[in-house]
Symmetry: C2
Subunit: 209 residues, 2 copies
């Protein structure tokens, strides 16, 4: 299948086959893709939870209006923004750049100052909003990668974020859940898998200038 | 190349080869991928500008701190959220569902009411924030698709959104620029293309539960 055929094949899976689990290789590929997702400045000011524990997933389901994907999918992926992005976050990231590229810190001093300026300038709410948007890039990468390797997924905003934070102990880790995706394999009788995909016509979506 | 190799191959291209343009097929594939990107409720409450006009691109460059990607890339893709998401937006979307799936409107009445409830409940600022996040999913899909077909891209938040809105006449269309991506082909001498990719180690990025 071409990329476009694969993107047409994917859909927001409503009913997963609870007996089918991702292989270690499939899960590794998707997590690797998430890890390679770009983010503003490259800061990756978020963490990604991979939830398999059945009891925790029952609790998450209750905090997601009982949606069965939470327990029937192979894994629940929870994107969580850091809520305390500060100079220390920047310094840690620059440490990583210096080590990965084996360069002198002076070479990225200007870049570091730019980033420090940004995180010091923005009020907390704006920083969290900014970082939240980055988690949506990672979500887009995950969904495309899943389609690419034939894994089903359901992106979900319909959950009580505060309850997720509580169940997953995110607040004390300086994190807040932003968006989730359940991944696994569609049930053969998922009614939604047979529906035609609805998208704006190209003439309406795109403006050529 | 595997998907992971392709995602490692991609990077935020700083210097494009201004002589190289996407083929019609490559551009069509990327726009098609954007069109297939998922969004909350499937509403796609945004538009996507594909900017090729050289004079307009000079103006956009000036409004993006002079970054050369704006004029040297093959195309500038501007994601723009709708600023007036309302009941009419929902009804139009439901019209599309009914026509695409050839179903009776009564079958999606409940869904329509849910969406109307959401757009009526949220204050404008929250609606725009919500819709802005959806454009970042589309951005993630675009970046992954570009890597998949060997096209370079640079996601960019560093631009003056208000000026972009003015240059592109977005305000009068009920739109506001949220994020952009330049697409094309890397110049052989783009220093950044040879740098090792810096990402958080998996142990730091992921929390397994």
């Amino acid at each position: 299948m071409s990329l476009i055929e694969k993107l047409n094949w994917r859909y927001a899976t409503k009913k997963f086959d609870a007996t089918k689990k991702l292989s270690k290789e499939q899960l590794d590929t998707l997590l690797h893709a998430i890890r390679l997702a770009p983010s503003s400045y490259g800061l990756q000011s978020y963490k990604v939870l991979v939830v398999e524990n059945p009891e925790i997933r029952e609790q998450l389901k209750a905090a997601a209006y009982g949606q069965p994907q939470l327990t029937d999918a192979s894994q629940v992926i929870v994107f969580a923004t850091e809520t305390n992005i500060d100079e220390a976050s920047v310094h840690k990231y620059v440490d990583n750049i210096v080590a990965t590229r084996n360069i002198d810190r002076s070479m990225v001093e200007g870049y570091e100052q730019t980033m420090v300026g940004t995180v010091n300038r923005l009020p907390d709410e704006q920083k969290i909003g900014w970082s939240t948007k980055q988690t949506y890039i990672a979500l887009g990468v995950l969904l495309t990668a899943a389609a690419e390797i034939g894994v089903d997924a359901c992106p979900m905003e319909g959950f009580e974020a505060g309850k997720f934070d509580e169940i997953l102990g995110l607040k004390e880790k300086g994190l807040a859940a932003t968006v989730i995706a359940t991944i696994g394999f569609r049930a053969h009788d998922d009614h939604y898998s047979h529906l035609a995909k609805v998208r704006k016509p190209a003439e309406e979506l795109f403006i050529h200038i």
